[in-house]
Amino acid sequence: MTGPATQATIDAVWRIESARLIGGLTRLTRDVAVAEDLAQDAFVAALEQWPASGIPENPGAWLMATAKRRGIDALRRQTTLERKQETLARRQLLHQLEQPDLATQVDEIDDDVLRLVFMTCHPVLSRDARVALTLRLVGGLSTPEIARAFLASEGTIAQRIVRAKRTLTQAHVPFEVPGQAELAERLSAVLEVIYLVFNEGYSATAGEDWTRPDLCGDALRLGRILGALMPREPEVHGLLALMELQASRLRARVGPGGEPVLLADQDRARWDGLLVQRGLAALQRAQALGAPLGPYTLQAGIAACHARARSVEETDWAQIVALYDGLAALTGNPVVELNRAVAVGMAFGPEAGLELADALEDDPAMAAYHLLPRVRGDLLLKLDRRDEARAAFERAAELCENARERDMLLAAAEACGA
């Protein structure tokens, strides 16, 4: 024992242990909902006992033993009044929990966490459900924390999590790392969830604040964990590189009044050097694992071009255009095309960029996307077509849902003159 524990200390232990605990319990019980309940029971027991007793020497083992004991007690109480079939299922569960856990070797615990990630990011769940469940079970966030992060009510998030767990149970989603045949697809679903979380933090789609660094931090942690658990997967490092490089700009991205500061106007000395280094190193690992480069590695390559440049002018825009060519060929995504238009505008002049941006105006997927008129506004302004630029910025402000960004767009429209 190491002295009485405070709530903050117990929370910290939970953050460290919860994914491994829930992973291990899911392996034993084959049901993630049961596993989380048992883990929660153990956490409550810790909250009751540790303030007086202190934190045990091996808190992870204590939590696991407590969770299993609670499970066994509950099962014993319940077995008397049931039909045979259910009793059989319970007996099996009881047997599992009563076994000494032979799988406490490090490798097995790592695998538990990895299996858990693939489960919470399973395609049988909606994207929103995957995000909430992953943050909760793998990230160790509480329901109120997730609700706050996504500006949703606690009830909504709690419901979403309960339903997600039920869906996983009903669909008999196995607790396993997918085999080679489906690994690529399933891994891409995992990476998507992590990047969704990151992006919601990096440029909030709604609300008063332009960025929410805590969410970026949660996504980065998940990305770093995955990078350590799946070191042979290039796109895992590619996504991590992308997030580290983007996060390196977080503090330069917000002005003194909370307003957005765009890449071109950022004080590059305020970029986080440690994260830049880590990002470039992760990019190198991704590239070293072999071609063809995946979408995250290509995007990280683009972010690296910015990270290496002293200024906007000294940026290797031709290289960025080449990387966007690769990305556009891979994804066929109009948003990528739009970014490519920006890069072309920088590399080969605003006229060339505007031509590409204009070509996107008929794309129905872009009709409500505020960044298209914003990019057009920037390019038109560079061509000194001020009236059109003003109209474009105003259109962008109309479509934009983030208060801070909308202010900036209205200011840009204003600055175009009458």
Binding site: T2, T6, A8, T9, D11, A12, V13, R15, I16, I55, P59, V106, D110, G217, L220, R221, L222, G223, R224, I225, A228, L229, R251, D267, R268, A269, R270, G273, L274, V276, Q277, R278, R310
Partner: protein, 139 residues
């Protein structure tokens, strides 16, 4: 929140001796745990103070003192940089490190840019930024 963990020197580290295979193995395992938890951002060991120096400042005078330095307690032989959600989390991680024999390991929070900004005038900040930029370009 970012933390720096400072590992003090010992007669062995000062003699340039590498730790025993057992300790190295335990330390590697511990480092792997930190990496797998997404906690460790960087870390390094430092060469003995015999390869370092101190500079004493007094008025306009600068006195260079060559290593080694004898007060082992004041010698740092290595450091980690961690990312944790709270001071408590950093402490919990540190408690799991494989040290022994009365060793005291120091945990320090690294100032965020915001806290630093408050103490800096705009002019000072600009000069600091320029300097940092030059350093990073060279690096």
């Amino acid at each position: 929140m970012r933390f720096m963990v400072l590992v003090p020197g010992s007669p062995e580290s000062e003699a340039g001796e590498m730790p025993s295979t057992d300790l190295l193995e335990e330390m590697t395992k511990y480092n792997e745990e930190l990496v797998k938890a997404g906690v460790m951002l960087s870390g390094d060991g430092l060469a003995p103070t015999s390869r370092g120096a101190r500079v004493r400042f007094s008025g306009g005078e600068r006195t260079v003192i060559d290593g080694p330095f004898t007060e082992a307690k004041e010698i740092v032989s290595g450091y980690w940089i961690w990312e944790c959600a709270s001071r408590e989390e950093a402490i919990e991680w540190l408690k799991r490190a494989p040290f022994d024999g009365g060793t005291e390991i120091e945990l320090r929070e690294i100032f965020g840019a915001e806290e630093f900004d408050e103490a800096m005038t705009p002019e000072l900040r600009e000069r600091q930024d320029q300097m940092r930029e030059q350093v990073e370009q060279r690096g």
